[in-house]
Symmetry: C2
Subunit: 113 residues, 2 copies
Amino acid sequence: MLNYQGPLDLAFQALADPARRAIVDRLALGPASVSELARPLPMSLPAVMLHLKVLEESGLVKSEKVGRVRTCRIEPQMLSQAERWITERRQMWERNLDRLGAFLEETKPEHEK
Amino acid sequence: MLNYQGPLDLAFQALADPARRAIVDRLALGPASVSELARPLPMSLPAVMLHLKVLEESGLVKSEKVGRVRTCRIEPQMLSQAERWITERRQMWERNLDRLGAFLEETKPEHEK
DNA sequence: TTGATAGTTAAGCATATACTTAACTATCAA
DNA sequence: TTGATAGTTAAGTATATGCTTAACTATCAA
C-alpha cells in the first residue's frame, strides 16, 4: 500500500501516538497555546511542535497565531469521520452476527425451538 | 512518551495503516482465511501475516486455525473502545462550544437578544 | 506417497518516526 | 532598548515499521 495518504490515513495515524492523543485530550477541554500543550508532556517543545504539525495536517486540529501565541483547537468534523469509519465496520459486523443468529434459529429442528 | 502500549495505543496504531484498515473492512463482511484476506492486497503473504499479527495483538481481530486454514474474525469490543475514545473527546468539545454559546447569549446586551 | 495448498519463519533492507540539542526570530513589557 | 517569553528551524540520531525473498512445515486429496 506504500504511501497513499487519504484523510482517514492521516487521522488514524495522528491518533496512533499517545502524545498526540494526550494533546487531543487536553484540547477537548478547550483551546490551548503550544506551551500549554507542551507543559504536561515529557518531551521538548520542538517535539511537541512536530506532533502538532501531524495533528494539523490530519485536519484533527487547527491553530491560529495572534501576537506571539499560537492557539490550537479541535476540529470536530475530522474526529467524526474517524469515529464513523469505526462505527460502520462494527455495525456491519454486528448485523452479520444477527443475521447468522436468525438463520440458525430458523433452520433449527422443530423440537429445539 | 517513548513506548507505553496501552490497549488504545495498540488499537489506533493498528488502524493507522491502510492495509490493516482494508483487512478490517473485509472482515466486517464476515470471517475470512489468511489467503482470502491477502488476495486483494498488493503485497506478499508474509507481509499480510505481519499486519494480521499487529491486528491480533491490538485485540481488534481474533483468529483460529483449523486444519491448515486460519480463520480470522473481527473483535467488535475493541472497535467499540476506540470508537468511544473519539466520541467522548468530540462530545466534550461540542458541549464546551454549547456552553460558550449560551454564555455569550446570556451576557449579550438586552437590545441584541 | 506425492504433489498442491495454506500458512509460517527468518534474514535483510529502505524509509519513516519520534525524538534530541543548539541556534534563531518575533513579540511584549519595563 | 533590553531582557524575558513564545514559538520556530535545522541538523542529527536511534529505533520502529513495512516490506521483500527464500526456505520451511503442516495438512489434505488423489
